[in-house]
Point group: C2
Chain length 408, copies 2
Amino acid sequence: MRIVQKFGGTSVGSIERIRATADLVQAELARGNQIAVVVSAMSGETNRLIAMAMDMDESPCEREMDALVATGEQVSAALLAIELQHRGIKAYSYTGAQAGVMTSSEHKRARIRDIRSEHLQRHLQAGEVPVVTGFQGVDDNGNITTLGRGGSDTSAVALAIAVKADVCDIYTDVDGIYTTDPRIVKSARKIDRIAYEEMLEFASLGAKVLQTRSVEMAMRYNMPIHLRSSFRDVVGTMVVKEDDTMERAAISGVAYNRDEAKITILGIPDHPGIAANVFGPVADAGINVDVIVQNVSAQGFTDLTFTVPRSDYRATMQLMRELCESLHGRDVRGDDGVAKVSVIGVGMRSHAGVAKTMFDALAKEGVNIQMITTSEIKITVVIEEKYIELAVRSLHTAFGLDTEAEES
Amino acid sequence: MRIVQKFGGTSVGSIERIRATADLVQAELARGNQIAVVVSAMSGETNRLIAMAMDMDESPCEREMDALVATGEQVSAALLAIELQHRGIKAYSYTGAQAGVMTSSEHKRARIRDIRSEHLQRHLQAGEVPVVTGFQGVDDNGNITTLGRGGSDTSAVALAIAVKADVCDIYTDVDGIYTTDPRIVKSARKIDRIAYEEMLEFASLGAKVLQTRSVEMAMRYNMPIHLRSSFRDVVGTMVVKEDDTMERAAISGVAYNRDEAKITILGIPDHPGIAANVFGPVADAGINVDVIVQNVSAQGFTDLTFTVPRSDYRATMQLMRELCESLHGRDVRGDDGVAKVSVIGVGMRSHAGVAKTMFDALAKEGVNIQMITTSEIKITVVIEEKYIELAVRSLHTAFGLDTEAEES
């Protein structure tokens, strides 16, 4: 097999961790695989570099920031290559530019356009290990670019696609995706296989183990991602194309997010463009709106409810009060004590059936549902925050996700 | 004027020092000059990176070491560019590869072959400041190379030649070259202008302010070097081509080196190749031989005396004892309490006159001369170490180098 292995900042965060990471590379080579590696900067290094620059200029030149922080991955790539060479493995570090990672020119948020990987493929065919810096590339004018925080996952998937790898192994500090948070539900199970679409829903719900862009890219090119632990050599979660042969329940997992606040603007005129009127100022303020619900209107007026991250609650309330006044709306109400629970599954054949099970389970526990939204493969409800653990546990059980050991 | 400014590790060693360095760049721009900058790594950074690598492998892969340590200059170049941009100066950092510094492929000791500097020249013409990483380049295969310790001086001179600068300003923690060590001779004077050849002799005698290679390169292309203080905006020493219009004394300065040991091998057969027999094993052991004196032989046997750095004294004595035995020589004698004093000057018209003045001055103070060697522009004597200050002071006076303030 040809494998791209990606190691994050903690996996190269110290000499000891670099040695442990080299063990993982060596183990895959010993199994007869061809290995290319993508590394992040040593943990803490990127922040150290940014702090130095911010000391001089609060909004430092973005081109120079990219040149500065790109050194972080160059250091860890060279150190890992040194450790691999020390073990008799032919390993060669490559910066983004050397690896041929061609990107757009937007500094700090560049997008990969192409990887000119012929030389890396020659290494792979020869059983040698190219160690490529994640998170960075080079634009057409030779300027160093970075992909933005978490971009190393995207680098790894892009490289896997470029060298036609069989799988992209992403090593992290968890050993996979779970049916829900094991801190809340002891019987949560590790998911063996998950569809890209489900992974995207989990990721957008705060499972910060994979960068969304990397999953989208893997989905587009059908590149399997193996999400696995850098501490234990065990199988993790395979993120793959949905497959009819997958034996699966309707629901793959239950996700939640506490960090929610709800805002309702009442009695505003219901005419085309009203949503843009409301959300334009919110977007301009850099605030992410999440769930939006608008009920049918009565006599030309409507109520609009939406959620925002809790840290943006005050600012958003202020914006809405001003807007309500200018639109001659009736009132603005808010609640920063709500949370969001979702059930996710590509196997969700009929929303009705899943919704009934979900609402029944919550009703049985006396949990009031404040908002409901649905996507193709997800049903989300907003509830009072104090019910969150209860809701997650009851849904996990209702959809048959508890481990068999627990069920027996 | 078009100027290449070179700043060493202490000049970019902290945020405060980077700001002070930016002041020096800004001052030259304000005078209407075009400026390109070459920087070293922040002081201590290269050693920090090397220590990490050595933790993993005592003789780490040289290609990877170059990739690792090259990040040091990349960080300081980006930080200085950020500070310059902060002041409204258009500045752009360039790695060796980005700057087009093409080198040979010998890692850790690469030689610059060419600088493809068209883009840097465009910056200069536009009044913009390219900030180039010293010490590094890239080979024909895109591998990152370094020039070896102190290589930043060479980078600066090579860049100055490539962009056809009028002068290469090298900033250091001293404000120039002195007629001798001011710690020994209070009346030592800063030399305003010195010939390349003299600078090379001073450099080889322990004046570690300029890397020898950089002076050789400047001499070949006739690029003036201005050696000056990074702490005070005053004129330093110009290192230039020897010029007939220079008003100069026979001797430019007096240099010395305490770190010497003397070894004599007595009564060895005087046949062709004997010197190679003696110095082959010394060179193989990585020991630098400095002064060598061989007297005329008597009855087919000769005595050979030479000096080595004091730290190599024991090892060299051991080698010589073994050699003496195998050659059936008479004896080996050594003395690790010697020192070397030289008078240097391209104005040295006749060795005889200079030698007479030199030997007279030493004799008057009762200093016994143990060895004598001469080069085109230098006379060196080896003496007992305890006389070193006395010898330097008396020569400084004898050749009229004391400051006029002192003389009057």
